[in-house]
Symmetry: C2
Subunit: 310 residues, 2 copies
C-alpha cells in the first residue's frame, strides 16, 4: 500500500548538548517519509527552493521514496533553527524563515491519485483540508498539528479534525485543543471533534492511544487506552523529528497491514516508538537514512522486553 | 512473609481541584502499609501524638496491620498541609508541623525482629540507617527518600544507599541525586551508589526500573530496564500518597513471592502502579482502606491490556 504525505521539507540548524549542525535536511515530511519507507511505499508532496539539490534528493530516492510531488521553485527552502541547550524535551526556536513555504500550494500529481493512505503533516490546516478534499478515496487519513494552529486557527483546524481517522499530537497540544488539563478528559473532547483515534505523544515517556467507538473498520470496540513506552536512552543527540518519525513508523506499519485491527494499532504504536527512538540517536535524519536490515525488528523486541510481563 | 515499615504516620490537610479535607489520616508509612496489606503481613514503626485515637488505629487493624510498633507520646502527630490547585503533579506545601516526629527515635519491638522484609519510608537517613543496622537479617531492604535529604544530607543518605536492595524515588530526585539530567545516566550513577535496583516513579507516566548485575538472588541478569505504565485517569482526586502506595503494592507483592526473580520484579512494578492508581481516586487513604475482593486483580488485568500487544 502507498502513503501520500504532505508537509515540509526543510533545512534545519540545530544545537543540542551533543553538538551542533548548521545545515541538516529536515522538515516533518522528510522525517515522516524516511521512517515510513521501511514499511511501505511513500510519496511526498512538498515545496523546496534552489538549495535543495541532488544530494538532498538522493536521501529520498535511496529509500525508494517517490519525490515527483516535490515542487522546485526559485528561492530558498524552509529554514528552521532551534536549540535544545536548555531543555531536551522542548526546542527553543531561534529562527524560522518560511521562504518558498510561504506560498506553498500543494499540487497532487495525477500519478499520486491512487494512494491509499494520507498523512497530513503539521502545516496550515487550510492546506491540510485542501489536500484531504482532493483525495476523497483514501482508506485512512492521519494528521498532525501544533500549538500555533490550535491557538490561532481553531476554526480551520476544526474542519480538518472532522474528517480525520487518527490525530497524532503531543500532551500539551491535546490539552490546549480540548481546553482541559486532564489527559483522559481532553482526549474524550478531542475524539468528539472528529478523529476516530487519538495518539498522544509524551516524548521520553512514550505515547498513549485513545479510541472512540468508530475506531476500527471491523467494528472491534476498544475502551481501554493503549500505552507504548519510549526507550530510555543514555544519550539523546537530537530530538528534532522524533514525533514525525513516530508518525512514520506508526502509519507506515498500518499501511503495510491488510486491515486496521486493534492488534495492528497496538503494534503500530510500538513501531512508532521504535522509529522515534532511532531518530534521536543522531542529528537530523542521519540515523533514519540507513537502518541496517534487522535493526527495526531487534528494537521492536527490545520494546517488548521493556514493557511486557513475560 | 512479613514487611516491617518505618516512616511517618500523620494527619494531612489537603486541597485539590476535586475538593478539600481538613484532616485526613496520612503519612508515608500509612499509605505504604495499607497498600502492602493486600499482599502480605505488615508491621509499622512510627510515632503518633494524642490526636491519634482508636478511630485511626482501626484503619490499620481492619487491614490486619500490626501497630505494636506505633509509639504513642504526648503532643500532636506530624501534620502536613498541601495544595495541588496549581499542579496536580506536584504538591505545594502550605505547612509542615513535625510535632512528635521531631524527636522520633524508632524503637523496634522484640516481636518485630523476625520480619523478613524492611521498607525504609522517607525519613531522616540517620534513622533509616539506624533501623537497617538493627535488622541485619532481613532478606530484602527497600527504601525511599526525597529532595530535602538528597540536597542537605547527602553523606548520611550515601550510607543508607550502600546497603539498599531497591531504591524507589521519583524522576527529579534521581537526577538530583546523580547530578545528571539524563535518566539512564543518572540511573547508572545511582546504582553505583549501592542499590541493586532502582525504581523511578514518573507520576502519571508510570515508572521505570533499572537493574545492576547483582539485582537478582538467582543470578538472573537483566540489562534492559522495565517500564510499567500508569493508568490514564479521568479524575485524580488526590495525588497524596500515590508514591507510597506504589511502594506498598510493589514491595508487598515481592514479599508474597518465594523469590525475587525478574518476572516477580516486573509483576511487582505492575502491582505498584495498580495500588498507586487506586490511591489517587479518593482523598487520603479512603480508597485503600477497603478495596473489594477482586478489584486488584481486575485492575492488574486492565494494566496488562493497557500495555501489552496481545
Amino acid at each position: 500500500m502507498t502513503i501520500l504525505v504532505v508537509g515540509s521539507v526543510a533545512f534545519d540548524a540545530l544545537e543540542t548538548p551533543s553538538g551542533r549542525r548548521d545545515r541538516c535536511l529536515g522538515g516533518a515530511a522528510t522525517h515522516f517519509a524516511l521512517a515510513a519507507s521501511y514499511f511501505t511505499d511513500v510519496r511526498v508532496i512538498a515545496v523546496v527552493g534552489e538549495d535543495f539539490g541532488p544530494e538532498e534528493e538522493r536521501v529520498f530516492t535511496l529509500r525508494n521514496i517517490d519525490t515527483r510531488g516535490i515542487e522546485h521553485v526559485p528561492g530558498k527552502s524552509f529554514f528552521w533553527s532551534g536549540s535544545y541547550m536548555k531543555n531536551l524535551n522542548e526546542a527553543q526556536t531561534l529562527r524560522t524563515d518560511l521562504n518558498v513555504f510561504q506560498t506553498f500550494s500543494p499540487k497532487i500529481p495525477p500519478e499520486y491519485q491512487d494512494s491509499e493512505f494520507l498523512f497530513l503533516a503539521n502545516i496550515d490546516p487550510v492546506l491540510q483540508e485542501e489536500v484531504r478534499r482532493e483525495m476523497p478515496n483514501v482508506k485512512l487519513v492521519c494528521g498532525d498539528t501544533m500549538n500555533y494552529w490550535i491557538k490561532d486557527h481553531a476554526e480551520n483546524l476544526a474542519r480538518v479534525l472532522k474528517d480525520l481517522d487518527v490525530l497524532l499530537i503531543n500532551d500539551t497540544e491535546v490539552k490546549m485543543l480540548a481546553k482541559d488539563p486532564n489527559l483522559v478528559q481532553a482526549a474524550r473532547k478531542v475524539l468528539d471533534m472528529g478523529p476516530r483515534a487519538l495518539v498522544v505523544k509524551h516524548g521520553e515517556y512514550g505515547a498513549t492511544a485513545f479510541f472512540c467507538d468508530r475506531s476500527f473498520a471491523d467494528g472491534a470496540s476498544v475502551i481501554v487506552p493503549f500505552r507504548a513506552p519510549a526507550l530510555p536512552l543514555a544519550e539523546v543527540v537530537d530530538p528534532t523529528g522524533a514525533g514525525d518519525s513516530f508518525a512514520g513508523g506508526f502509519f507506515g506499519y498500518i499501511a503495510s497491514q491488510p486491515a486496521l485491527t486493534p492488534a495492528v494499532f497496538r503494534r503500530a504504536m510500538f513501531y512508532g516508538s521504535v522509529m522515534g527512538s532511532f531518530a534521536v540517536e543522531r542529528f537530523g535524519t542521519e540515523r533514519l537514512q540507513q537502518l541496517a536490515p534487522g535493526e527495526i525488528e531487534e528494537r521492536f523486541a527490545l520494546f517488548r522486553q521493556l514493557s511486557h510481563l513475560e
